[in-house]
Amino acid sequence: MKRYSLHRLTRRGSARSIATILAIATLSAAATAFAASQNGIVRPVAEPAHATVKLGESLFNANCASCHGIGGRGVAVARRGAGGVAGAGPALIGVGAQAADFYLRTGFMPLANIHAEPSNQRVQFTSKEVTSLTAFVAALGKGPQVPRPQPSSGNLAQGFKLFTEDCAGCHQSLARGGYVTGARVPPLQGIDATEIAEAVRIGPYLMPRFSSRRISDGQLDSIVRYVLTTNRPDNRGGWSIGNLGPIPEGLVAWLAAVVLGVACLALARRLGA
């Protein structure tokens, strides 16, 4: 497979400035989309040493604009572009740093297929690139900031109660994930406090959104604290059986009972003989 990338194309012409690259990237959004679909992330040849909105813009145009539109205006109907990519995505004006930070740091974006469910994948961008993209999306319009939860000031009991009421329906009471018709519900282990808080406020994919009127920042601290505790739950009795609740536990109990019963019968027969 022949690789097309800005990196290769521009290495030959050493005199090209970053500005030209940006111009090409913007104008040939479809072509870069083609490149992105085959080769992953498209990067400018010489990234600046620090995160900048400008770097964010060039990365956005090269990697995100095929679905989220020029300037983050969104694409409502999937259209076939020059690269054969049919992209459709929501507008990003006004989603703020909160959403950009969440989707990029969790690896939810970029999506390989617009109909796929975003999931925790390997993060495709470097942290400098994530910061740049987040700054660019935040600059598109006034939107919510990245939340700063304080799990240490949360109340674990309150967090458990709120989690049971509002989250456990899908995520299970020990946040082991599950299913909703048409989608998988992710488990919440190994996720940092900021990502948890962001997800509650955004409601990514099919998850409901909980505004600060619905769940206050203080309550959110408690929920985050509870979710973080599920990383290492207190397993009374020693064996968690996946922390999935009563069904696997019951299954194991029945299995043990059957084995015990068979053993008793065998013993009785032996003694009887």
């Binding site: 899908c170 599950g178 909703v180 989608a183 409601g203 099919l206 505004s211």
Partner: protein, 342 residues
């Protein structure tokens, strides 16, 4: 690999031991051999000692079984459908069956003559039927109070059968079953949240869901439980006649799944409607999925009918209130199971 080898070794060992036992248990040489004393002439089964104590015990056990069964009927008749004590019903019917079983066990061990004999399989059986009939007659030789036992068995069996039939009463008309259909909702009754605060219409947001209760009604009452969501009014495709039921796009449905009575705890809400599944209320038990925009029509799963919808209105103070009663019966219902909406 090591584990697998161990398992194979253990399996082989177990098989070998079982097989050896089977070889040891070779059948005895054919021919009839009585372990206990042989029967009197004219009888197949040896005569047994009468055991009046066992007979009275059996009669007593059967009567206790009958009393338990009667207890079921009395419990069913005394309590109203809302206060029906399930545990008591269970204890009654369970007790009746347990005592019946004990009575039968006593009959088998103490009253029926048992003999141990080993018999080779007969090649022809012309008089088998007569022999079996005689066997049954002879086996009852220990029973002296035949009528008492038959009476007790009849009482227990009859009481149990009656207890089994009692629930038919619930179909009416003998019983007042209206209580099952009454709900706390009537025009003007406010919706409150879990802490009892009235819900304000302008505070209900899209893309999320709320648990709601009837103001002043106990939260244990299943008809008091609601799930409230807000959709864009343009998205709604409610059944005919329900145009005014969702002011500002706020919808209220019964929280109790119409399949098995679990609480609707899952709300699926797309972030980007173009590529994602449409909004749905989902029951976590068996994934019955309801479309809130279309009067909670069943999209998927075992539920047979939509969630009942509660007509809403916004009162003078901006609070959410009921504008009437539910569109259908609350809770699991098997009526209309085939009337699945398309």
């Amino acid at each position: 690999m090591k584990v697998k080898r161990w398992l194979i070794a253990l399996g082989t060992l177990a098989y070998g031991r079982l097989r050896r036992k089977r070889i040891e248990r070779q059948p005895e040489p054919p021919g009839r051999e009585y372990v206990s004393e042989p029967p009197a002439p004219g009888h197949v089964v040896p005569q047994g000692e009468p055991s009046p104590f066992a007979e009275y015990l059996v009669a007593l056990l059967l009567l206790v079984a009958a009393i338990f069964a009667a207890g079921f009927i009395v419990t069913y008749a005394v309590y109203s459908p809302q206060e029906m004590p399930n545990q008591l019903l269970g204890v009654c019917i369970g007790g009746a069956l347990v005592f019946l079983a004990v009575a039968l066990a006593v009959v088998a061990h103490r009253l029926v003559v048992t003999e141990e004999l080993e018999d080779d399989y007969p090649e022809e059986h012309p008089q088998e039927q007569e022999q079996i009939a005689q066997l049954v007659r002879d086996s009852g030789s220990r029973i002296t109070r035949r009528k008492l036992l038959i009476g007790a068995a009849g009482t227990a069996g009859g009481a149990l059968a009656l207890a089994g039939l009692t629930p038919v009463l619930s179909l009416g008309p003998l019983w007042d079953t209206k209580a099952l259909e009454t709900t706390p909702w009537r025009r003007g009754r406010r919706l409150v949240d879990v802490d009892g605060r009235p819900m304000i219409a302008s505070e209900i947001e899209e893309e999320t869901f709320y648990a709601a209760f009837a103001q002043g009604a106990p939260t244990e009452e299943i008809a008091a439980l609601l799930v409230v969501v807000r959709l864009a009014p343009g998205q709604l495709r409610l059944p005919a006649g329900r145009e005014s039921w969702a002011p500002q796009g706020i919808l209220a449905y019964s929280r109790i799944c119409t399949h098995a009575g679990c609480a609707i705890e899952l709300y699926r809400k797309p972030k980007f409607v173009v590529t994602e599944p449409r909004p749905a209320l989902v029951c976590p038990c068996h994934y019955s999925t309801f479309d809130p925009a279309r009067g909670a029509a069943v999209l998927y799963g075992p539920a047979g009918r939509p969630l009942p919808q509660l007509p809403l209105m916004i009162d003078a103070e901006g609070h959410l209130a009921a504008a009437g009663d539910f569109s259908g019966r609350v809770g699991p219902g098997w009526w209309g199971v085939r009337a699945r909406p398309s």
